[in-house]
Symmetry: C2
Subunit: 197 residues, 2 copies
């Protein structure tokens, strides 16, 4: 930390704080309910630096937060995918981990970018492109694991789309029902599908 601090632009800590607080708010309550006032207050950073770092305002800040939380989850997916001998076992572990996190948050912390994507991708190309990049980065990790497991590139691309879609949808249903049954069903059905090939 100390070695690199000297090379940082002034206010880099503020920029990070804005992104972190935006990421948490987007995950819990989405884009529409999250105002710049709340982002500034929770960040603890000076309000005056917000437009210095994010001249594009809330859209630009949301996109930066989506990229940040998206990259954190990509790293987590990559770690789990490589952790088990079979892709299907890795996927089960990934789904169980997401379910445990959701339950521990009182069914509030689902996918960090799904809510803002549904709300804003239609009106903001900035937000849509951030969402597309993040989803594609997750798909690439899933594909890598499926190819290592023996699927060809085309099968892996299709299967990865099913896997990510099913996980995203199960996180949605789990929030509505306040139970983990959708995630458990997806886990078991995907495992069954993997055993057929």
């Amino acid at each position: 930390m100390d070695e690199t601090r000297g090379t940082r632009a002034p206010g880099r800590a503020s920029r990070d704080a804005f992104i972190a607080s935006t990421g948490r708010l987007l995950r819990r309550q989405g884009y529409g309910a999250t105002g710049l006032n709340e982002i500034v207050r929770r960040s603890g950073a000076p309000r005056g630096s917000l437009y210095f770092h994010f001249p594009g305002g809330k859209e630009e800040l949301a996109a930066a937060a989506m990229e940040r939380t998206g990259e954190e989850l990509r790293v987590a997916i990559a770690a789990v995918i490589g952790s088990r001998p079979r892709a299907s076992e890795s996927l089960s572990a990934l789904i169980d981990g997401l379910g445990a996190g959701l339950e521990a948050s009182g069914y509030r912390d689902g996918c960090p970018i799904a809510t803002v994507t549904l709300e804003a991708a239609g009106a903001s190309e900035t937000v849509r492109l951030a969402a597309e990049r993040v989803f594609n980065s997750w798909l690439a990790e899933l594909e890598r694991g499926l190819v290592a497991d023996g699927l060809d590139a085309e099968q892996a691309a299709r299967r990865a789309l099913l896997v990510l879609s099913a996980i995203e949808g199960a996180l949605l249903l789990a929030r509505a029902r306040r139970d983990l049954a959708p995630l458990q069903a997806v886990r078991d059905e995907l495992a069954a599908l993997a055993s057929h090939r």
Copy 2:
């Protein structure tokens, strides 16, 4: 219409108009971006009757709109599920229909209740319970089709959760990417899964 009009409460048309405009706005832009002013303006109904019909305000109105659009989609699902000899063919037709609707709307009209569920289910028990009821009504139709296709009740419940989760997630990914590949992948993978049993 004329026969029943006499028995309707005064302002029933206003109530319907509020619900219809709320449903369209929740589908396109979600809960946070939808204000009561816009709902009233688009409904064409008198503002003064809003709190008469919906004393619970925006939460109650959102729940009513979710139930309405949810019931419309349940009827559509039931019609498609019974339209083909095999459940897997019906599901493919359902997914293609949802994809065609999404594309025709410029990738704006996905699931009518997913956005509001992700935004508001954590903070509003009224919204969460409406979402839970609607998702369960769709699951029941899917289960019915899967049982008719030979799955036992437990298998059908699990498979229906996978199917609905995958469709919801694919609608999300399709909106982010502005392409139908996620829905097509889900359709093809679910058909392959069905052929194994």
